[in-house]
Assembly symmetry: C2
Homo-oligomer: 339 residues x 2
């Protein structure tokens, strides 16, 4: 690997000047900069990240914490993060936080402490108190996407409002017997968001003067299969059958769609279904949903953390937690209730 000395020699300057010319820190005349750049390019020189990090304390690398790699939502957010970071020249180091206590600990106590990253993005991870503390101890900028964590800068969508929006859409279409598929009240710590969605659902009903009926709630695990089973329960039960289902995720909504089909219900004539997320399959299933633009979420988180890093560098103060956009996308799975 070619080193900075070779570039310096070739350009006829000191290594200090090469460093300054290439990093853009400090003054270098245009002529010199050009000579240095030419030399660097012709030699194929790329600064060694470890040497540079050691000397400067900057790594040009961001750590990303994800709970699941193989679920659409998370990998989509990650994808957005990755492309935004790479656009700005940053590398991305991935930490897959599973439920395994021991493994989680080692991430917080070892992996993240290797001084390999300049900042951390936590994607939809409900962190324990101690984990949050470990994260703060790192002394690095941290941005969390998802569940609002008062002790960290967060980028969140207002999940209560999102759920209200979806529910109000159904109410506006004349539905009153609206079922909800969401997380059961006593769920994993990785899910705080579902609770807020259920809350929004209940608020919307209450505002419309519709009493909440426990029989119209069915818990599921946020997968297609979970949604399928839940919908079968809701639709197969004797007595009060819902005319609409609000699922707390698109995947569950799709499951509900398939269940309805299998039971012979026509969607949206016999049953309206709305989800949340903006899943890639939504279009295919003509699913009405509240899109939360996960790709954009990832990009925003990346930009936010890099801005913070640069602001820190420049001494500027950092921004306040931002709210993420969402939008009702009406497609073919919801319709006015026919009497």
């Amino acid at each position: 690997m070619v080193s900075i000395d070779e570039v310096a020699r070739r350009a006829g300057v000191s290594t200090a000047t090469v460093s300054r010319a290439l990093s853009g820190r400090g003054h270098v005349s245009d002529a010199t900069r050009e000579r240095v750049e030419t030399a660097a390019k012709s030699l194929g020189y790329v600064v060694s990240s470890s040497a540079s990090s050691l000397a400067s304390g900057r790594t040009r690398n961001i750590g990303v914490l994800v709970p699941f790699l193989d679920r659409w939502f998370f990998s989509t957010v990650l994808s957005g993060t990755a492309s935004a970071l790479m656009r700005r020249g940053y590398d991305i180091t991935l930490y897959n936080l599973t439920a395994d206590r021991e493994q989680r600990r080692s991430i917080f106590e070892t992996f993240l402490r290797r001084q390999r990253v300049d900042g951390v993005i936590a994607i939809s991870i409900e962190l324990g108190d101690e984990e949050t503390e470990r994260l703060r101890e790192l002394g690095l900028p941290v941005i969390a996407i998802g569940g609002p964590n008062p002790r960290l800068s967060t980028l969140t969508v207002d999940d209560v409002a999102v759920a209200r929006l979806a529910t109000e859409h159904l109410i506006a279409l004349g539905h009153r017997d609206i079922a909800h598929i969401g997380a059961s009240p006593e769920f994993d710590i990785d899910f705080h968001i579902p609770t807020r969605r259920r809350l929004g659902f209940e608020q919307a009903l209450a505002d419309a003067g519709i009493p909440a009926r426990p029989s119209l709630f069915e818990p599921a695990d946020f997968t297609i299969e979970g949604g399928f089973r839940a919908a079968k329960q809701l639709l197969g039960r004797p007595g009060e059958r819902p005319t609409a289902i609000f699922a707390a995720s698109d995947e569950m909504a799709i499951g509900a769609l398939l269940a309805a089909r299998e039971l012979g219900y026509r969607v949206p004539e016999d049953l309206s279904v709305v989800g949340i997320d903006g899943h890639e399959l939504g279009e295919f299933f003509r699913l009405t949903t509240v899109d939360q633009f996960p790709l954009g979420q990832g990009e925003r988180a990346a930009d936010a953390i890099l801005d913070e890093l640069e602001a820190k560098d420049a001494g500027t103060s950092r921004e306040e937690p931002r709210h993420l956009p969402y939008e009702l996308i009406v497609r073919g799975t919801t319709a006015r209730l026919e009497h």
Copy 2:
């Protein structure tokens, strides 16, 4: 952040001894090692990756190249890789290789040359000649999963055999009018594998003395929606209707399933469908498939590269390219052809 000096002071030894005790390189008496470990733990010391990398040339970090982050297959492989690497104390730096020429170039010419990684895993990426060359120039161990690349160590499943297996399963069930949904012959460079799958399909037919009929081939893009459209074509066409469909991916197979349902065909009574991959939704759809255990592929790649790294360290010679396992999983979407 606490440094090695503090640990050395606390343990009453030199920094050299701390380094040796903690890294396990060189001789340290048990008593000393224990004292060092206690000191390190009580101070919360973790070696600085940049300092360590700079001094030793080892980064404890593996670069992973992925074409798509948000497609099930790739994120599943990645997930396997991530967990295996983290188990062995390695970090993982993610490079999302898009189709964007310019961006790809910068990955090969800049990002990967920062000396941030000890090795590279390329997940199902068809690399251009120049890209392969850039990769080799790094002088690092490289493991490619997927499309066999004679210039790199690869871990591949025999896609021809996989496709034969799926097709032979249909033939054994009495099917002769078997359609194939796969990649069109002139596809992106990221897909070599589909071609091999088509080949296996054709071989199996030929071996059984069944003439290939172009009308029973339909190209698609490996998504559910693509499979859906392709199946609609195949099933909606006048004349020769297939009694079975072999899709080159589970996602396309699922699309085909949905299309068949929509057209009123019963699966498997009227139509058998088989896919490839072992998709997580396969179970839900009762899909017969040839599982290629993507999670395991990721783990194997990780283990292979770490083994190679350690072998290099120890001077042992490295292993030959390995073949990945696959298995026909018969579920509910294939059945004997009734006359």
